[in-house]
Amino acid sequence: MATASVRQAVEEARSNLSAPNPAGHSQFIKDPLAHFKSMPWCAELLSDPMILETVVPDRRTLPSGQYNFVRRVMSGATTVRACVSFVQRLQQQQSGAGGDGERVEGKAVSASKPLLQGGGPADGEDARNPFLLFNALLDLGEDLCSYPNTLHGGLFVVLMDEVMSTAANIQTKHGAHTVLFNTTFRKAVKTPQVVLVRGRVVKRDGRKITVRGSIEDKDGTPGESSPASPGPKAAARLISSAVSGALGLGRRIVSGGRTPSVPAVKSTTPSAPDPQQDSPKPLPRPKRSHQDLKAPRAPLVSDKSSVYEILDSDDEVIVPRLARQKSRAAGSQLEVQKQRQKQLDKLELAELEPESEPTSATASVIETKPEEPVKRKRGRPRKIQEPPDQGYNKITPNISAPKAAATWQPKGILSPSKRDTPGRSKNVTFGATRGGSSSSGSSKKKQAGDVTFPDLKPKAKARASAAPARASKTGSPRKKRVDAKAQDDEEAEGAVDSETEEEEDDDDDDEDDDEEDDEVCAVCSKPDSVPRNEIVFCDNCDMAVHQECYGLAVIPEGDWICRNCSQEDAGAETRGASPQSTTIAAARDGQGLPGMPNFSQHLRAAQRVLLDRCTGRRRIRLRGNDEAYGKTFQLVEQTIVAGEGNSMLVIGARGCGKTTLIESVVSEASKLHHDEFHVVRLNGFIHTDDKLALREIWRQLGKEMEVEDELISKTNNYADTLASLLALLSHPTEIAEAQAESVTSKSVVFVIDEFDLFATHARQTLLYNLLDIAQAKKAPIAVVGLTTRVDVVESLEKRVKSRFSHRYAYLSLPKSLPAFWNVCRQGLTVDADDMAAEGIDAALEGHAAFWKWWNEEIEALFKTRGFTDLLESHFYGTKSAAAFMVDCILPLSALSAAAPRLRIPHPGSGGAGAGAGAGAGAGAGGGVATLGPADSKLHLVEALSDLDLAMLIAAARLDIVAHTDTVNFAMAYDEYAGLVGRQRVQSASSGMLALAVGGGTRVWGRGTAGMAWERLVALGLLVPAAPGGRLASHGGIDAKMWKVDVALEEIPTAVKLNAVLARWCREI
């Protein structure tokens, strides 16, 4: 029974499409069937007993010129020489197993394997209309290439789409539109070659049909040899979008006056009325510009998918000819989804697709994604030059006039609906009367059935929450596909690769109906309002929505308030966030806990060491600055051992390790020469004048030398202190009366941090004395200055400079990324040599295993993309290893025996930009937030209220419009009031009062605005124009002049503004 009906369907298709007599097909090769049968592998395919029908597609051109792409361009001596298509039946009981497939498919098993899976009642297969395997053999000529001898990438898609949409059309009475098309190129196809293109529906879910397809060569198992050449998928992706843009309108012309948007819309809303029921009614035709379309389109093109719409056949089953291809390349992976609101695309080329009657167009989604075929790589992008071989012998006659079609403007399903709120009318618009009479009056009655996405957010959320669960199940990354139909999306992603949507829409739309009604729904931007789907106005904010767009079953008595105003979502959002994130964490951490003894103990010991390094409490080794180290060490050692007086400067940028160097030198020296020297440390930030510094030297020496306290406290006088210090330091032989002879035998190392600040002290007395002592060999002291300034010597007085030894050690930041990583990795792992020094007990059981595992983890982490990004952002930003390590603190401290894997924050998520993200997202996301500083003051902007922002924008505008760089409150408030006033006039004239939505049309009083102004001042977004208080003393808040510390164009980048404020920033 089943077979009979299948046969019937196929025959029907054949009768529609193929030539009545085999000779009338006008293909280049006279007898395509014989041609293919002469090839053994094709013959084997064609002789399969499961073939229901073999068809030679017609290539004769039609008088109307339709389908010329396939019929003419894609058929010829150098393009597609021959084509034969055949429909095969799989034994669906085993179709999921693949064993059967092996037999049926011959050697083409592995490339086609994904095609053979799926189906069955679970996937919506109907026993009376089973999912058939549609094949096409094509003999590709040499002119189908762009890159020499290689099939053009776009033609892949053309071929695939022709075949797959045919496969989908067998499934449906009404034909299908491609909604999403995902392709993975595995390998290049060489031309000329014979190829087998096949497609099969793998899932049907309501109106959505998912099709997989592949292109393979005679070997069928291309996986064995896939020499990877560069030029990967990215190129293909790029092209697909470019082409889609270029060819945007072609399809539309063919497709005539159907409105694909409406059914698509319907499908998304659960509460939508039955499409059938609505179909006869005319639909309102929104006016949209192309820009409007771009926005919604963007998300549809996801990573590997190209999305477009085909308006193709409905009632007929198309059996495209098989083309022939000689490539050894096999499966290109395709994921196809045909999306109705995109009208563009490469498939536009193939306008040969059969056409449907305008009255009942059908959309289908085809998506294919074979898993195994060899990856196709291409050296460079190419353009679509030639149409694919294609042929349909029969054309649907009903094609509406191009003119009518041309006016059709596609509508994005997800197009942001204009928040056009109508005038001030209350409650309910009774569509027929109001809509018609209010403005242009030419209105057709809009039918009620169109329902857009009243609220995408919940669905998006649902999807988001579904994602982790899925990810944890399969463990494989999934392509994120943004589907217009949010709900369908979920099911589609679950197990199936593609979907087809079949739609029963079809109302002729009146193209000419472009009236602008001022009462349009805020969701769907349509003005129609008919009983049972009337436009309702919020009594609080005057937002207008359709009942159905908003999910409002009955018009409430009395006042009605929109969800936004009634604050139904107020509490819900906060609750939603957390459980989801915990699932992520749990799911990831559960995997692969390395089983080794004392794991937790090892981990915590490692954390201690690494965190101490990252927080700067343990010194890390200096890498790549051995020369400077050697120089400094030698100098210090000479002073200690030989009693020389020495001076030198260590110069290097902040964070390059000056302190680390000098401290390493000191500790190394103290190891070697235990008690033979003292160290005095001074810091230019702390010891801000020579008197303080001297006293500090005196104190430190006194402490170290255990001089009695009263001696220190006695010398209150600066001169006394200096004198006794000199006495203390000088050689006893030179100053006979030196009181404490025993102490002078020791050397003293002076470490002077921020050396340049000491050069600013009056007369540089301290430096002079110290350098003089060092130079004159009066005492064994070493003066080591640390500074960031290369030109510090220039700031020394002549007499000081002449006493300086002019010895320098330069420290440099890591010069290359590997060198930088070499420094940074000390914050993430401990070298074997350092284990003992860091106090890690190597004798504990499992030590070696743990560190082996840990180092492997770090190496693996290093190879991940996100980590490299982080490292690079630090390297190219500051080259500061310390900053990188700070970023590692939280990930390191988040480790535990239950969750032993590091998760590194993304570079972009740090600082101000992620303010909110760090609070909500990152806080929940397992501590993957950075501790980096804010990039600029702009993080303050996002904390501002609308009024604060408005005042700030007004002040910043004045800088430009009035050419003044200083503003006072009076000027800013005047500008603000003027802007709001103009906004009011505009919105009143355009009939939209965005009172609650925009929030920009309320003028706040001077007092409140003054508070906002003061807040801006307090936050430092306004800085005083005149230093000091002269101007501040009079005139109060009104007159004091300020400078705006933020440029006007920076404001929109820092915070998401509402429409009104954004306009103020934009329109000068």
Binding site: L931, L947, V961
Partner: protein, 505 residues
């Protein structure tokens, strides 16, 4: 040996705190990690964010809890964590700051050793802190957390102050310095690195969650015929509505938001209390209270409003400001007591207007405005309507001119102002017309002297320049008017004068 292993702070402490400070869990945990002795104590930590985001409160609460939990672990008093919080706003000079630090550290450590009474510089501060923290014996793994709250607001701070404080931890290793600032400039500590924790402003759900958790104001009467769940639900929705109407629009800080909620709640629930509406009818309540949601006096209460009419005096002064519905309308219906027209005598008013003109008109226009020579009549110019935006033909600059009155008052010579006064008074005030002609100057001089003194003492006119201490009636003295445009316009209208006509841009 327990210190050798890493350990996060006690989860119990953190959970309790995270509940107390909702929506700040990430900041709380990060900070705890960066402060706790067993976790990852840093040398310097920077907390930044706008006001009222919980920086200081969370730091203080967290440190107190951590210290308490450490105390529990070592009952002998050898706690491994101590802290001191110094608020820069309370410290007038940096010496004040340093001495507060020393005092608070000594208090936290219960230090009874010798300490010097003076501490003027960071150098001395370092010495004092070293005495207490570095040289004195401390338990293993001891941390001292020194919190500098609002250190960016420290007065008279030398540029080296912050870098110097950031180096305390280098000199005294057991110190962790926490800097609480609003907006740190890049690398303001001049150190290689310091972890920064951002306290962003709350988002709407967070605002609402926090206020919802707080519940209705304690003084508010319970709603009749309402279950607690309904009341809580109403409160949450109400808070969200207040957020949209006032907090997001004008003042996005938690205290202002909370205040607005508390003040509006009685008005909002008045229909419920009266029994005309149920607590479930949120929409209807919202529409009924729509006027209140646009009440700016909630955000900007002002001082004058507080002067209630005597009839309101019996009301208990402790009542919530917004609690009595009747007060605001009454106050606004009365003539504003700050209205200058009601407060000043006529001469002073005239003088003030003349002073405003003198301050805001350029001297070169005086002849055009006040001369009667050619026309027999003073020529008024429609100030704004002529001046603004009207350029000189095609070559007009594309930049808009700013109205002169917005630019603030300029100084004028008293002589000029008196001349203007003399020129306009006849036109502005009938009394002078009738008396015009003779004997006027003498009498007016006393009057003018009085008026000048009045205006000067009220600081409506201020003396500028070096001679500020000189004779008030010195005709060469320079003055500046100290009232704004709104006030002057109202004042002029009270006397039937459109001041705008007398201004030339």
């Amino acid at each position: 040996m327990r210190n050798s292993l890493f350990q996060l702070p006690d989860e119990l402490v953190l959970t309790a705190l995270a509940q107390a400070f909702s929506c700040r869990s990430f900041q709380l945990r990060s900070l705890a990690t960066l402060l706790h002795p067993d976790a990852a104590p840093c040398q310097n930590v920077v907390l930044y964010g706008t006001e009222a985001t919980g920086k200081s409160a969370i730091t203080a609460a967290l440190l107190a809890r951590l210290e308490a939990s450490e105390d529990d672990r070592s009952p002998d008093g050898d706690s491994r964590l101590r802290f001191a919080i110094v608020n820069s706003v309370e410290c007038i000079t940096s010496r004040h700051l340093f001495e507060s630090v020393v005092g608070k550290v000594a208090q936290a450590l219960r230090w009874h050793g010798p300490s010097s009474s003076r501490c003027e510089t960071v150098s001395q501060l370092t010495v004092e802190l070293s005495k207490m923290l570095k040289y004195a014996p401390r338990p293993d793994g001891f941390r001292f957390v020194l919190v500098f709250d609002g250190i960016d607001r420290q007065r008279e701070a030398p540029p080296t102050l912050l870098p110097a404080l950031a180096r305390l931890a280098e000199i005294i290793p057991c110190i962790t310095s926490v800097f609480v600032v609003t907006s740190p400039p890049a690398n303001f500590l001049h150190t290689a690195f310091a972890p920064h924790i951002h306290f962003p402003n709350y988002t709407k759900p967070e605002f609402v969650a926090i206020v919802t958790a707080g519940g209705p104001p304690p003084g508010a009467p319970a709603l009749p015929n309402t279950t607690p769940e309904e009341a809580a639900d109403l409160w949450a929705r109400f808070a969200a509505a207040v957020h949209d109407a006032l907090a997001r629009a004008a003042t996005r800080t938690l205290p202002a938001f909370r205040h607005a909620c508390d003040a509006l709640w009685p008005r909002f629930t008045a229909p419920v209390v009266a029994g005309t509406r149920g607590a479930r009818e949120f929409s209807k309540l919202l529409i009924a209270a729509r006027a209140h949601f646009q009440d700016e006096s909630l955000l900007d209460p002002g001082i004058i409003v507080a002067a209630r009419p005597p009839s309101a005096a019996p009301a208990p002064p402790t009542a919530i400001p917004g609690g009595s519905n009747s007060i605001t309308p009454q106050a606004s219906s009365k003539p504003h007591t700050s209205d200058l027209a009601a407060l000043l005598p006529t001469t002073a008013r005239l003088l003030l207007l003349a002073a405003y003109l003198a301050s805001h008109n350029a001297t070169r226009h005086d002849l055009v405005l006040f001369s009667t020579h050619h026309h027999g009549r003073r020529r008024r110019r429609g100030g704004l309507s002529v001046g603004v935006g009207r350029g000189a033909g095609p070559g007009r600059s594309k930049h808009r001119k700013i109205a002169r009155k917005l630019l603030g008052a300029h100084a004028f010579v008293l002589e000029r102002m008196l001349a203007i006064f003399a020129a306009v008074r006849g036109e502005w005030d009938g009394r002078y017309v009738s008396r015009e002609g003779g004997g006027l100057v003498d009498g007016m001089d006393t009057d003018i002297g009085m008026a000048m003194a009045t205006l000067a003492s009220l600081r409506l006119l201020v003396r500028v320049g070096g001679g500020a201490g000189g004779d008030a009636m010195d005709r060469g003295g320079k003055w500046r008017v100290n009232v704004g445009w709104e006030m002057v316009r109202a004042l002029g209208r009270s006397m039937g004068v459109e001041v705008e006509e007398w201004l030339i841009e």
